[in-house]
């Protein structure tokens, strides 16, 4: 009985047609299972949402900026819907797994704008955001190719899906561009959350002479770092490196005074998020379009190597970056299947 007397307006009010004209603008996002601090794209997306909101002087919450975390795929539609009912103007869904949910909800909540990160949805009120991960991967490959001493480098992927494959494809190209005879040991462990597999795989690679591993494996990557760190700890002169992914993984690489993080390939979801928010607030929401962010748009890049990579190598990497940005080099999206 008590529930019906004092209903919370925010939770109750159904989406109405005039939500856009309420004067203000507000935005929110639905995270994947990882939550807003997954050190990956959820975190980066939230960074974008939050910074945008703070820049406008908004509060976290209804009417400002907010997020909802999903505990499983079955929460996507509900969370999107709940946010739409709270009259947020622009709602992001983070991760390609949310494609279908956004498609459904966007069809129902026609007055709300949605944006899908890493996925594509064809609807007038949805803007799709994709990244040219291959371009970032390419730079990581160049860095690895230039820095390897053994001419053996490794790639460890989490699950084998199109996004991760772009990382891999770029990495392979980048390495090849520097020195075609470098061998790349490339493996998918089949999960983003199995650190012990990442560790074992990394152990195998390092033992076989690989000295730099680029991982795109989320929590599985933790295992890659811990293997590298152990080797570094056991032997300070060991030449073992990890290239991190998504955000700057320098912290992960710390081992005493040393660090095994060579650099990290950044995927600037925050940049894209802010860009779309900006466009939307100014009435230029790219509904029905797919925006692909690449090096050119600052959507990708390498993190500060903090001296791990010498300046002359950095200069060379920059050259490649330049070439990609101006279209001189086109990086393939797919791995050329070995015959």
């Amino acid at each position: 009985a008590c529930g019906s007397d004092n209903k919370d307006n925010a939770g109750e009010k159904p989406a109405t047609g005039d939500s856009g004209e309420k004067g203000g603008f507000s935005l929110a996002m639905v995270t994947d299972v990882g939550g807003i601090d997954d050190k990956s794209f959820n975190q980066s997306a939230w960074k974008g949402v939050k910074e945008f909101g703070e820049d406008q002087g908004w509060e976290k919450g209804t009417g400002g900026y907010d997020y909802l975390q999903s505990t499983g795929p079955e929460d996507y539609t509900t969370n999107l819907n709940n946010l739409a009912r709270r009259d947020f103007n622009l709602i992001y869904g983070v991760g390609f797994l949310m494609e279908d949910a956004i498609e459904d909800i966007a069809a129902q909540q026609k007055d709300t704008q949605f944006s899908i990160i890493d996925g594509e949805v064809d609807a007038p009120n949805v803007a799709s955001i994709l990244f040219k991960e291959q371009e970032g991967g390419y730079l990581a490959g160049v860095a690895a190719g230039l820095m390897t001493k053994s001419d053996k480098v490794g790639f460890i992927g989490g699950m084998d899906n199109p996004v991760i494959e772009r990382f891999e494809a770029g990495f392979l190209e980048g390495v090849k561009a520097v020195k075609p005879e470098i061998k790349v040991d490339s493996k998918y462990v089949g999960a983003f959350d199995k650190a012990e597999l990442g560790k074992a795989e990394a152990g195998r690679m390092y033992s076989s002479g690989v000295d730099i591993i680029f991982h795109a494996a989320g929590g599985t990557g933790n295992g890659v770092f811990s293997e590298a760190k152990e080797r570094k700890q056991a032997d300070k002169d060991a030449y073992v490196w990890v290239i991190g992914v998504d955000s700057d993984q320098y912290e992960e690489g710390k081992v005493g005074d040393d660090n095994v993080t060579l650099t990290s390939m950044l995927k600037r979801v925050d940049v894209a998020v802010k860009d779309i928010a900006d466009l939307s607030m100014n009435g230029n929401f790219p509904g029905g379009e797919t925006k692909v962010y690449g090096l050119q748009d600052d959507g990708l890049g390498l993190a500060d190597s903090r001296g791990a990579i010498p300046q002359d190598v950095l200069d060379q990497i920059d050259e490649y970056a330049q070439k990609i940005a101006n279209g001189e080099i086109e990086v393939p999206e797919f791995v050329e299947k070995k015959k």
Partner: protein, 348 residues
């Protein structure tokens, strides 16, 4: 206080205790429990949309619970419901997308495919148990992982390197315009009727059929069952197959109702593991499973509204759910307390 009264009171009190401790946790971490629970309430029953979604969430739990319960009744511990559900999900999604048939054929075909896939996944541990006495708990745990990897690989192959299958055809869908409109565009679908029908099926098999009589006999005392000329082995296999079929149908709920397709899975759905609690909360009876699934589904779904409406982190919600389960499991001690109370009253 009659016995029936006590039977009703025990779970009520357990849930209340869970919520009470949850409230204390909220207080300690500086959240207002009243706002929190209001949000939970609204999340479950707040409006027709919430009710629709809650019921939608209950459907797979019902089937997972039935699967676990059915196996338990024959003395088998099926931890493999998770994997059976995943292969069922895949089979339904595949049949839903790959064929184009009239609804009257397509939908049942997809459902049967899911049940068959789940049954197949249950068959393996069943056969190993019956013929080689291999412990079903280990095999079913391993089968879960195998299901996960195999289904992911199949999705990749079938989608030409992608990460999800195409959407199923309308003709295989459990989605319903009618239910959706009724509940303010929720994803409520006809699956709940399938699930409830399976509750009846389980009840019917166990309580009405010869097979059920044999299954229960083997479950309680396999020595006596074989003395009476029943084949313990046949029944073990049968029980795992039926259990797996229920689980597979649980997957069909997701494939044909909630999601309408299947994406590659980063990890387990958790529904299968929760099914263990659902079944045991319901004392492995069909009616009990309805109770367990309703409790689980409501809390699980309603919980989403706590961060949404009251800004309470999801983790607290999980704590509360766990506590409720815990106290419901401890129902015995509450029952003892109530009976003492009654006896004291009667003495006076």
């Amino acid at each position: 206080m009659s016995n029936r009264m006590i039977n009703i009171l025990v779970p009520m009190i357990s849930i209340f205790l869970g919520l009470l401790v949850g409230a204390i946790v909220m207080l300690i971490s500086d959240y207002n429990p009243i706002t929190g629970y209001m949000a939970l309430w609204n999340g479950i029953f707040g409006d027709s949309y919430a009710i629709g979604e809650t019921i939608r969430q209950i459907s797979p739990y019902l089937l997972a619970g039935l699967a676990v319960a059915f196996a338990f009744r024959t003395g088998l511990f099926n931890i493999g419901v998770e994997g059976q559900l995943i292969v069922g999900w895949f089979a339904a999604a595949y049949v839903g997308m790959a064929f184009d048939l009239p609804k009257i054929i397509h939908l049942p075909f997809a459902l049967i495919a899911a049940a068959a896939a789940g049954a197949l996944w249950g068959l393996v541990p069943g056969i190993l148990k019956a013929t080689l006495k291999v412990h079903e708990v280990i095999v079913t745990i391993m089968m879960n992982y195998i299901a996960l990897h195999v289904v992911n690989a199949l999705i990749k192959t079938l989608s030409g390197g992608g990460f999800k299958l195409e959407r199923i055809h309308e003709s295989a869908s459990l989605r319903s315009e009618f239910l959706s409109n009724l509940t303010d565009y929720s994803t409520l679908h006809y699956g709940i009727f399938v699930a409830l029908a399976m509750v009846v099926v389980m009840w019917f098999i166990l309580e009405k059929t010869k097979t059920g009589f044999e299954l229960k006999s083997v479950g309680y005392n396999d020595n006596a069952a074989s003395y009476a000329g029943m084949s313990a082995n046949k029944n073990i296999i049968l029980a795992m197959v039926i259990s797996g079929a229920f689980a597979g149908l649980g997957g069909a709920m997701e494939a044909l109702g909630t999601f309408g397709n299947m994406s590659s899975m980063g990890g387990f759905t958790g529904i299968g593991f929760d099914g263990i609690a659902v079944a045991l909360l319901g004392a492995n009876t069909p009616l009990g499973v309805i109770f367990g699934a309703t409790l689980f589904g409501s809390l699980k779904y309603g919980a989403n509204n706590m961060p949404n409406e009251a800004g309470i982190p999801v983790e607290i919600v999980s704590i509360i759910i766990a506590l409720v389960i815990f106290f419901v499991a401890c129902g015995y001690i509450i029952r003892v307390g109530l009976i003492r109370l009654r006896n004291k009253k009667e003495a006076k």
